[in-house]
Amino acid sequence: MSLWPLILGMAAVTYVPRLLPMVFVRGERLPRRLRLFLACIPCAALGVLIVPGGLYAVEGRMLLCGLSLAAAFITAWFSRNLLIPMAAAVLSLLGLSYVL
């Protein structure tokens, strides 16, 4: 069975919502409150992307995942290099998985 109909269908429904605002939304034409709303989306999205997904990254190991997220948070506080919290998250989860 070919998966191409599925792939192309998924591609279309993923691409169109990515494309339409890029073509039609122009910041300077929007009312101030809507602009403010859109400016708040990055932080809102980051909150949503981290919680609760990060806590479920290893099924049934919420404490382990939470500590690993905390390690990323603490290292990010002291470094602007994104690779530092990434490494902290990965390595702390691996290391703590032997202890917890």
């Binding site: 109909p5 990515r18 403010l36 400016a39 708040c40 932080c43 809102a44 990010a76 990965v90």
Partner: protein, 233 residues
């Protein structure tokens, strides 16, 4: 061209974060008897990680194509909000819009939207190119290698992307308490919605982002919280 190279450099953490997750995707696809061309085709044309993993699960469960496509639409509709937020911040996207729009993912959006100055289309292309290389090469290599990653290792490698999100969020939170409040409120709402399974996951994501950003509007009439500074016009 300079912008493109700066974008590429900013995309390096995304590339490194994507690679192992795509590796796992390629492996799981291979184990599910999905041929290499189909797995790579999905990564190349759909290019949306969570929905690709979901599609594999639903395929294995035997769901019909139309239902998987519908579920994909719901899960990926959050990019509509992200594309709108990014577009509102840019002066002009122009002819590159179709290409720039294709590369919008959670991660490239998060990096681009928190840049101190409004991103240019060429910057975005560089950022997105780096991310795309990581996703595609990881998929192909994972499929070629085959096998299964131990559960803890797969979880740990996936954790890299959460580290990336946290690394992007922390400077915003440090700069503005409004940004912190917006992130905390949307995270809390999302957790509740998911915990009580109020609605399908795709809707939960969108509802929580909208609620968090609306909360930001209530908080920040005086000046835009977080990354709003530098917004053109």
């Amino acid at each position: 061209m300079r912008d493109f190279c700066v974008g590429l450099r900013r995309g390096l953490p995304v590339l490194l974060g994507y690679f192992p997750v795509a590796l796992a995707f390629g492996m799981i696809a291979g184990n599910a008897q999905v041929p290499l061309m189909h797995a790579a085709g999905m990564s190349a044309f759909v290019y949306a990680g969570a929905s690709q993993f979901m599609a594999l699960n639903l395929l294995i469960a035997g769901l019909p194509t139309a239902e998987i496509v519908l579920a994909t639409l719901l899960l990926n509709f959050r990019h509509f909000l992200m594309s709108a937020a990014l577009s509102a911040r840019m002066k002009r996207v122009g002819k590159l819009a179709p290409l720039v729009a294709f590369g919008i993912t959670d991660e490239t959006f998060a990096v681009a939207a928190t840049e101190p100055t409004a991103p240019t289309p060429t910057f975005l292309l560089g950022l997105e190119a780096a991310a795309y290389v990581g996703w595609l090469s990881g998929t192909a290599l994972g499929h070629a290698l085959g096998g299964v990653l131990p559960r803890i290792l797969q979880g740990a490698l996936g954790m890299g992307l959460y580290g990336l999100f946290i690394g992007i969020l922390v400077p915003e939170v440090r700069r503005s308490w409004r940004a912190a409040a917006v992130a905390a409120v949307s995270a809390g709402i999302h957790w509740l919605l998911r915990h009580f399974a109020v609605m399908p996951p795709g809707w939960s994501i969108i509802a929580a982002i909208v609620a968090g950003a609306a909360f930001g509007v209530i908080l920040g009439e005086a000046k835009p919280p977080a990354v709003g500074r530098g917004t053109a016009g």
